[in-house]
């Protein structure tokens, strides 16, 4: 079965809105992490985030959309506009039901839900917006994108935390194999509100540092947790490249695994996810030119990932550009897929910002400091989701 092509990209990231702005910042090793501005973090142990700066929803969306959408849905809608424009696709010219949308979500419209819960408890149930019925919901981005773009084909949502940004590509691939012509697929997320913040702090994986350059240091000897971010990417995925269109690369393989429960004594299954993705792509480990790591920023998780990568590949260039934007939940792996496709396009591995000294026991060829130029035919992207999700995707040059 032929591998589907990525033919369009739309993204919003803490280091830039749109593909080229993000990519030039990523190659420069820019850091988009800073003090949280969306709400007052006084009293919370975590104070940094990767916020998407300069996004004014009303510049892109109609007045009708604003009362019914969470911040992350607004970004997802704009990303879907940009992805289709980038692919040169006008959805209304496609046959009815030929195109669909699948998105990943980790927590739904948290900020919207926060506001409505606040209204509920402070003012009463008659002050809760009718739009709360869907605006908070995990599947809301799929629904709103589908309505906005007129995509009446297959729809769906995957909720596998950070892994979702990869799992959603597998879902899109299945729908294409089932006969869809085009799928929009990706994740865009944001939970930068007090309620979302409390939920994230509960994971016990956040960095409590206040220096943006020293807070999220995956694989570093000074790693102490991660910084949350917002944003993500929506991709146009098609079986064939239309005449005159471009392919960024193909989704050659995917696999996902689920870890045994903590305390079971059984090993994690990340390595198997990587090996199964390679098998799905029909690729040998030696073919992989670069690995985009999940890069948890939590020492024991970093070690586990480094061991899995080393066991499968031996020496291979590894990078984690997300160190410059934070972990974007369902948006993170989608953004990494974009970075990997652009790495293939431009034959360059972007660096891992801020990381300088690898922790003991982490024997990786981590690309740091500056980009590394090399021909890239095959890239592997790894993503792990809180709660035991592991996924890997193999991307190939067209």
């Amino acid at each position: 079965m032929s591998a589907p092509h990525v033919t369009g990209i739309g993204l919003l990231a803490p280091t830039g809105m749109g593909v080229e702005q993000y990519w030039s910042a990523t190659l420069a090793g820019a850091c988009g992490i800073g003090k949280v501005t969306r709400f007052d973090t006084a009293g919370y142990p975590a104070v940094l985030a990767g916020e998407v700066d300069g996004f004014e929803a009303r510049e892109h969306l109609s007045s009708r959309m604003l009362p019914q959408t969470d911040h992350m849905t607004r970004m997802a809608l704009v990303a879907s506009d940009w992805a289709l424009a980038d692919a040169g696709v006008k959805p209304d010219e496609l046959p009815d039901f030929a195109a669909g949308v699948v998105t990943a979500s980790s927590a739904g419209g948290f900020e919207f839900g926060h506001r409505e819960l606040e209204a509920l408890w402070s003012k009463g149930s008659d002050h809760v917006s009718a739009y709360q019925s869907f605006a908070w919901f995990y599947a809301v981005n799929t629904g709103q994108i589908s309505i906005r773009q007129g995509l009446r084909g297959p729809g769906g949502v995957v909720v596998t935390e950070q892994s979702g940004g990869l799992d959603v590509l597998a879902m899109a691939r299945r729908r294409l194999r089932d006969g869809a012509e085009l799928m929009l697929a990706g994740g865009v997320d944001s939970g930068l509100c007090p309620w979302g913040w409390v939920a994230q702090i509960a994971s016990d994986r956040l960095s409590y540092r206040d220096d943006p350059a020293r807070a999220y240091l995956p694989f570093d000897t000074d790693a102490t947790g991660f910084v949350p971010g917002e944003g993500g990417a929506i991709l146009v995925v098609e079986n064939d490249v239309r005449p005159g269109a471009r392919s960024y690369g193909t989704i050659a393989g995917h696999a996902s695994t689920f870890d045994p429960p903590a305390g079971s004594g059984r090993p994690g299954t990340l390595r198997r996810a990587i090996e199964n993705a390679l098998a799905d792509a029909g690729a040998d480990a030696a073919e992989v030119d670069v690995v985009f790591a999940d890069a948890a920023g939590v020492p024991e998780l970093d070690r586990a990932e480094a061991v899995a990568i080393t066991e499968v590949f031996g020496p291979v260039p590894v990078t984690a550009p997300k160190a410059g934007v934070g972990r974007l939940y369902s948006g993170g792996a989608s953004l990494d897929v974009v970075a990997a496709l652009l790495a293939i396009r431009d034959e360059v591995v972007p660096p891992t910002p801020n990381v300088a000294r690898l922790a003991p026991g982490i024997d990786l060829d981590l690309v740091v400091g500056r980009p590394r130029h090399k021909k890239i035919r095959t890239a592997l992207v790894v993503a792990r989701g809180y709660g035991g999700y592991n996924s890997a995707v193999v991307l190939r040059a067209s």
């Binding site: 109609s62 007045s63 009708r64 959309m65 604003l66 009362p67 019914q68 008659d126 002050h127 917006s129 009718a130 739009y131 019925s133």
Partner: protein
Amino acid sequence: MMTLAELVAIIRECAGDSDVADLDGDVLDVSFEDLGYDSLAMLEAAGQTQRRYAVTLVDDAVVEARTPREFLTLVNGELTRVG
């Protein structure tokens, strides 16, 4: 009594300005559907109306009010009824 201008202001506030019609025009007998508002938008507007005018509107009655005139008749009927 609630006026058309007040209803339009509430709709804009709760559900955003219309993409397809000028709400400052002659919209009294234009259906909410043709003005670009679905039933959820009208439930949202009805919620705000209830809070601002201290009336109780039954959801089914709100959904059945298809035009601004019918919506105003519903609200003002309630206002008159409860005095």
